[in-house]
Subunit: 191 residues, 2 copies
DNA sequence: TTGTATAATGAATATTTATTCATTAATATT
DNA sequence: AATATTAATGAATAAATATTCATTATACAA
């Protein structure tokens, strides 16, 4: 008797992300993936029915994980700006530390593999942050003449650019920089 | 004697963009492409040596075109805010009207097809806008305590999000909205 | 220990996709 | 109108890639 080594699933996921950053989903083949993960191609099919299922599961896993990370440590008893900063930094750090994942999520979103249900879930992820912005308005700290969605997009877009440029070594973020960037973001939405 | 019908090149490009928005570069096959363009697969090889060459050329063409569009109509004699608004709107409109192209450019950037030279050129595209921001500082209209790159990223990121949400029908832009969005962008960088 | 069930392997096979090429169609030239 | 030249076609072939499966290795139970 011999039992499955489920740690291989994560091994494969990590190998996949690494390859996708380099050559996109278009460049991902099962043999390259197996080689990168250090296992045989056949072994992939012990843990996944097909390439499609493999990518679907990777997406679902990352989606679930990132949802958790965004609001982590947020405490509604703290002042609004403090809370916003926490969530803002959460997202920036997430984009940087898990850059490979972000690249995958965006590529997957426009691949032949994504399902309608998965598209739905992606949209619902924004809700908590929009509610946070609303709190800022209620406390008369955030501009009321712009709707939550627009303010959200301004914050989100800036973070994405910052993270992308940092990871590709075009604009390096350090503590000072990051602090400044948040002040700029705050300037954008504050009354 | 019979001459080549070079209009087919553009036909193929357009068909390609359409398909790539739906299923990414990962989903693009030469036969799907031919079918979408309404020609035979063999005909593709009259105008392009290979799939790789086809995508390389599409990229080069779009790159050249978009470079032109960003600064179009900019007049250094007009006031700074007016000029910035023009460029800002240029880019927003470009992202919306040529959404398919934008999707392609981003996908291509992380595909097995891109060349080192092409990566270079992409980076150099930002230069004119950064110079514009510098002009704003010189005229004491733009915050001096944030560097040009950071201010640029804040503007760019917001535009990208706006355009993406508009095209995917999540956040529809009209004239009023767009006007507001620019005011928010201006708030972000102005002293 | 030994037997046995199942994980792991990777070469073999199936499938998909890129590319070629023999054939047909179109059009410029005579 | 006849001829010649090249575009266009799409089925045939080549190449790349996904998937299977006969074989081997491993680890648990008896």
């Amino acid at each position: 008797m011999r039992s499955k080594d489920y740690s291989k699933i994560d091994l494969v996921f990590r190998a996949g992300l690494k390859l996708i950053v380099k050559e996109g989903i278009a460049g991902l083949t099962m043999s390259k993936l197996a080689k990168q993960a250090g296992i045989a191609t056949g072994t992939l099919y012990i843990y996944f029915k097909s390439k499609e299922e493999l990518l679907n599961k990777l997406y679902d896993k990352l989606q679930a994980e990132s949802k958790q990370r965004f609001m982590k440590g947020y405490d509604p008893d703290e002042p609004f700006r403090t809370g916003l900063k926490r969530v803002w930094l959460n997202y920036l750090k997430h984009r940087i530390e898990r850059y490979e994942e972000s690249v995958f999520l965006e590529q997957y979103y426009r691949s032949p593999f994504i399902t309608a249900e998965q598209k739905q879930i992606a949209e619902s992820m924004k809700q908590p942050v929009k509610e946070l912005i609303q709190r800022g308005k209620d406390e008369k700290l955030v501009k009321k003449d712009f709707d939550n969605e627009m303010l959200f997009l301004a914050l989100l877009g800036f973070i994405r650019e910052l993270a992308d440029e940092h990871v590709t070594n075009v604009y390096i973020l350090n503590e000072e920089n990051t602090e400044k960037a948040f002040r700029l973001a705050w300037d954008t939405i504050k009354i």
